[in-house]
Symmetry: C2
Subunit: 307 residues, 2 copies
């Protein structure tokens, strides 16, 4: 591998496992060689590519929009999902994490209510306005400053070795596509996520009220990766139990462990099963605390917290 690959990764088992795997995949005639056409890499977003605490950033965008709607129509505050969200009901939030059907149904209906009839340009403008104003509450900077620099270096390494890199998140496909190219260097067509139906009429695309197909979580991740690419991934990275099937479907699984209290957050909630699977299936676990010398693309944030 070239010098300088994975520059923000400290020498150690995780870095070495990645470099060894990439070398095996690209060594013609070797037993681990993978044809260029098959070199698909897929990564979760929240908690894998950027900070997901106290809530995945898209929640902030969505809840902000719903708070505006409740101001217009206060009666909404007594209905789900608005009631559970704005009362910070832990039972309701647990229902999101475990995908409790009535909770998910109420969320999907609310997405339809808010964004049905929106054009892609209108939706992009809303996301950009949010991005320009939001700051992560603990670290005090925009979420796009809190993208993990080591993961973008991993993208670079994979691309340099013939991989096509996809982001595959349970979050909204169209939300991520707004910043995918400028933030990750990943084209919009390489972003997979939960998605609404869109209708074309009179020369324009307009969003409908329905979420198409299943959510991009758990088995939905390899299903959507296959639908989008015709393949299952060779390399996959994630950080939570909803990533298990995606990592399991890949030859190399990378599991990000949030163990850095100084620079980020320490938590295993929602990742208990994936940590167990990592041991069972030989996935490579990344200790954010030990394996990453620099944490964020905004290196001043990492440095301040690093001291």
């Amino acid at each position: 591998m070239s010098d300088g690959a994975l520059a923000s990764w400290r020498a150690g088992k995780a870095k070495q496992a990645i470099l060894d795997f990439v070398e095996g995949v690209t060594t013609e005639g070797g037993s681990d060689f993978v044809a260029v056409a098959d070199r698909i890499a897929a990564f979760d977003n929240d908690g894998t590519l950027w900070v997901e605490q106290p809530l995945p950033p898209q929640f902030d965008f969505v809840f902000g929009k719903w708070a505006q709607e409740i101001k217009q129509d206060p009666a909404m505050a007594q209905q789900q999902p608005y009631k559970g969200i704005f009362e910070r009901d832990p039972v309701f939030f647990a229902g999101i994490a475990t995908q409790e059907p009535t909770v998910i149904a109420s969320l999907l209906k609310a997405f339809g209510r808010t964004w049905a009839g929106t054009t892609p340009a209108e939706f992009e403008a809303q996301v950009r306005q949010w991005m320009a104003n939001v700051k992560q509450p603990k670290l005090g900077v925009p979420y796009t400053d809190l993208v993990y620099k080591p993961m973008l270096e991993l993208f670079d390494l994979l691309k340099a070795n013939g991989f096509r890199v996809f982001v595959c998140s349970g979050g909204g496909r169209d939300f991520m596509r707004v910043f995918a190219e400028e933030t990750w260097g990943v084209h919009q067509e390489n972003v997979i996520g939960s998605a609404a139906e869109y209708t074309y009429a009179d020369g324009a695309i307009v969003r409908g009220a329905e979420i198409l197909g299943n959510l991009n979580l758990g088995p939905g991740k390899p299903e959507h990766i296959f639908a989008q690419t015709g393949r299952l991934p060779v390399f996959a990275g994630g950080n939570a139990d909803v990533d298990i099937e995606m990592l399991e479907s890949a030859k190399f699984g990378l599991l990000i462990n949030h163990d850095d209290a100084d620079r980020e957050f320490v938590y295993t909630s929602g990742a208990e099963a994936s940590m167990a699977k990592a041991a069972e299936l030989g996935w490579t676990i990344v200790s954010m605390k030990n394996d990453w010398s620099t944490m964020y693309v905004n290196v001043t944030v990492g440095k301040l917290a690093d001291v």
Copy 2:
């Protein structure tokens, strides 16, 4: 533009319009400049990239499979869609072309019956077996020999100028993906088509009985291009009325006119409305007879017929 671009295209209005458009798109500061990220090109397959007469090649694959099933269970021959197909009922075939709901429903149900439970590897093996044996009845060579060489040169020109090239056909996504890379030089993830649901369980992807979402025809084309890429195309090529919305959604529309009786077939059936739209919206019409000096990637076929 570089020498040798579009080598199989004769000098003329169509070739010049393409070269001028590509030059405008890539001229920074010019009024027609398009950012690299936005450079999406999308092309229909049947009749645009290869011969679609007497029937689109996938029909031969599908009908062959259904003929085998009827041998096992002759009672099927009295039910739709099998009855209409094997009796060559012109009303039934017209119903396919116009997407008559009961006709389409019978076809979709039959697809489910035949391929539900199939793995991608099994499906690929079936398509490859068909490809190894089928020959186009008039020209006597495999359909992949009858891919239009000028169109692959157009792919090369577009790619050399920063475009990502997608194929967007009403045909089956997974059918096309089997040969997309070797035949078109287009990665599987850049192939958009009508598609079944797939389920992931126990480490494997298996096809379900349902066709997901709408068929990739008419408005379905720009809808699926948007879903797959986050954008509408800048450049689009097609040959039939089911391509109208895709061409209308692009800045540059290319319409292939089947007017070469010697090397191919002469027909406007199913393209009447698109020919009218071409005049209205300023699309570039390609005369296969006059604009293409070489027709097929198997140049011996073109040459024989050319004499």
